[in-house]
Chain length 416, copies 2
């Protein structure tokens, strides 16, 4: 049997489950007898600069792999580099493939979101044109849960658990006063409201929170929003609202479009951070009551200490399944999960043509949003519920969580 | 032996340890054979409206007391009501004391911060003037750690643990890109920087975060701040800064004084929420790099799921000690903790005249801040370290933490 060598890369924004997928790939590669398991430092961009490490050397025992599994964000670092179109930058592809051939690479595993799947699609397309047998496998991750073709994405369940638990704790925090108050919790999700919808799971044990949920899949109407609050004030004094950062009006205009904080990322996506503040002002002007906006911010994607066990275990399994798929000679694919049943919760994994995934967005179906457009339906609840179940046994040292050291990385870079 | 009956109230802003102190009072009162253990609903303000419940009835077994101990915020609800000066509102005091006498109250325990200790001071002073034998005991709580006379305040250690752990997770989140970036984390603390200082505990296991710490105890100089960042950029690309919401310039002016989000609470204190955003703009203008500000917001005071065991256990013990002190016929006092040693960590409890506490603020001594005014000293580290140690075994149900139901409270109000 011929030698097997692979590259693994991580790309896009962080989640707490990406290292679990990395751990799954490493563990399975070791099991399958891979000679070299290389990790790109800062994704494909780092590889172009010869920055990579030997993961096989760094993860020799089961304990180190378990520690990797329980470390948030990206052990290998990330990049927001979009591989140029093939015919515009053939030199870049030639350089990459020469490196792959020189190092006898048989497989490339790339863990990321939508934009990373675009990279997998381009590399596997190029491989066909040059008759390369290297296999390119995409492993999904994103807290936004907005990838097509998969039941849900690794990293989403943990972010959802953080959102639901934080919403519950905000409910306790807000319940203490007997005065009219509105708390607006701004949750990540550019065009897909999955994470905002997950705030409804805070109700599981009886807490009546959130009172209202606004999702980017349906137009946001400010008058209707104020009317919703007015109605809620008839029943109670403290109102808590979950709102997606990406809500848009009927003209498709983001609420914080004109905010001075509006920024764009390397892909030209607007980075929202003002929706909660904009709503805070609107609510205060109307009701002159106590109003507070809370932006869950990056904590929702990096809070490993409250990760979902289901999410982390699946992310690991998906990493393992990626290796098995490569050895089945698949390429240009992404690993997807398919749900067999909600209760008991059961999923299995399949592969899917990455071209059917890249650059598409999976949003909440409108039938999973209530008619008043201010809450979710039971069907969406049943979909979300299993994804946040189970807790990781995070180790604490000196009073804080124990995560794998990532500061040593720069010293371990292998130079050719 | 004569009958013993008490009232317990909670007041001020929430922490995750206030219910542990309430649980301590209830547990000790039961042990000491109190006939009735009443809880004021929404503090002294609720009591004036005859809103109270019978805690002895609600907490009959050890399990229910354990559940109370592990529930964040205030089981009894809070108020931000400042008791008027005695000679201006004698009627209010007469009304309260008539109620106490009618109900054969022997002791009143009031759990709160600075303003609540003011209430204890006034009630015990009034008691003397009318020759009442009712004892008034203050039990401290505040995430700000700014009460005089005590080594530290219940609730602070848990908030500090949340801040340090979140800072660590933000470090992992920010470390993934190789580009110049500044992350500003805004932490609660109006005039005292204890909680911001606690962010330094994120370094315990090797993470190099935060890079810079700015505290309200020393003047904030924008030029020096930019120079500090410039220096850090020479060593690294991703800089994380911990900043107190209450930093002030050399003229004592808050940075967000003119922010449109500036609000005041019932006591006239400015509620800060713009410091991080103000700095974000300043840094962006100077460096034109990626800048993000993160406001930890109320999560730092309500995140029971990552509470410090030392904090919760001490808060419970302080509740118990309050009852013992009352039975020693003390009144007009607050329970304080005195540290015997840092390592091994050892504290004991004492009582202190509440007049020496009320309306004073305990700030970080300047000698515990480094000369450059951008970090803490080892002495402050050693003070903070023990306070975040230990983890609570929080129960999860349906994927979210299990806390005691507080929604039923309004139905349990005892009407006279």
């Amino acid at each position: 049997m011929s030698q097997k060598n692979c590259f693994i890369g991580q790309s896009g924004g962080p989640t707490v489950a990406i290292n679990a997928s990395l751990a799954g790939v490493v563990a399975q590669c070791k099991k399958e007898g891979y000679e070299h398991i290389y990790g790109m430092i800062n994704g494909i961009k780092g590889l172009l600069e010869d920055h990579y490490i030997d993961l096989g050397e760094l993860f020799k025992d089961e304990e180190s792999i378990e520690n990797l599994k329980a470390t948030p964000a990206m052990y290998l670092g990330s990049c927001r580099f979009k591989l140029p179109t093939i015919n515009l930058a053939e030199g870049t592809y030639e350089k990459l493939f020469k490196k792959f051939e020189d190092m006898h690479i048989t497989d490339v595993f790339y863990i990321g979101g939508n934009d990373s799947m675009d990279t997998v699609a381009k590399l596997s397309t190029y491989a066909k044109t040059v008759n390369s047998s290297i296999r390119f496998i995409g492993i999904p991750k994103t807290i936004d849960n907005d990838l097509m073709g998969t039941d849900h994405t690794p990293g989403f369940g943990s972010a959802a658990k953080y959102v639901a638990s934080s919403m519950l704790e905000i409910f306790y925090d807000s319940a203490i006063y007997k005065l009219n108050a509105v708390t607006i919790v701004e949750i990540m999700g550019r065009n897909a409201g999955w994470l905002t919808a997950a705030s409804a799971l805070a109700r599981e044990n009886g807490a009546t929170v959130p009172d209202l949920i606004y999702l980017p899949e349906v137009p946001f109407d400010t008058e209707k929003f104020l009317e919703d609050i007015r109605e809620k004030f008839k029943e109670k004094s403290s109102i808590i609202i979950a709102v997606s950062e990406g809500i848009k009006d009927a003209n498709g205009q983001y609420l914080d479009q004109d905010s001075k904080y509006t920024k764009k990322d390397a892909f030209g996506h607007v980075l929202h951070s003002g929706t909660g503040k904009v709503l805070e002002t609107i609510v205060y002007k109307e009701f002159r009551c106590k109003v507070r906006s809370i932006e869950l911010n990056v904590l929702q994607r990096c809070a490993m200490h409250i990760a979902s066990k289901n999410d982390i275990e699946e992310s690991f399994e998906i990493g393992q399944f990626a290796v098995t798929s490569a050895l089945n000679n698949e390429t240009g694919i992404m690993i997807v999960s398919k749900r067999e049943s909600d209760m008991p919760y059961k999923v299995h994994y399949e592969t899917m043509d990455v071209l059917k995934v890249a650059n598409l967005e999976h949003k909440i179906p409108v039938e999973w949003i209530n008619d008043a457009h201010n809450d979710i339906t039971p069907a969406l609840h049943d979909y979300l519920y299993p994804l946040i179940q189970g807790e990781m046994a995070i180790k604490y040292t000196n009073g804080i969580p124990t995560y794998l050291d990532i500061t040593h990385l720069k010293n371990n870079i292998v130079k050719e």
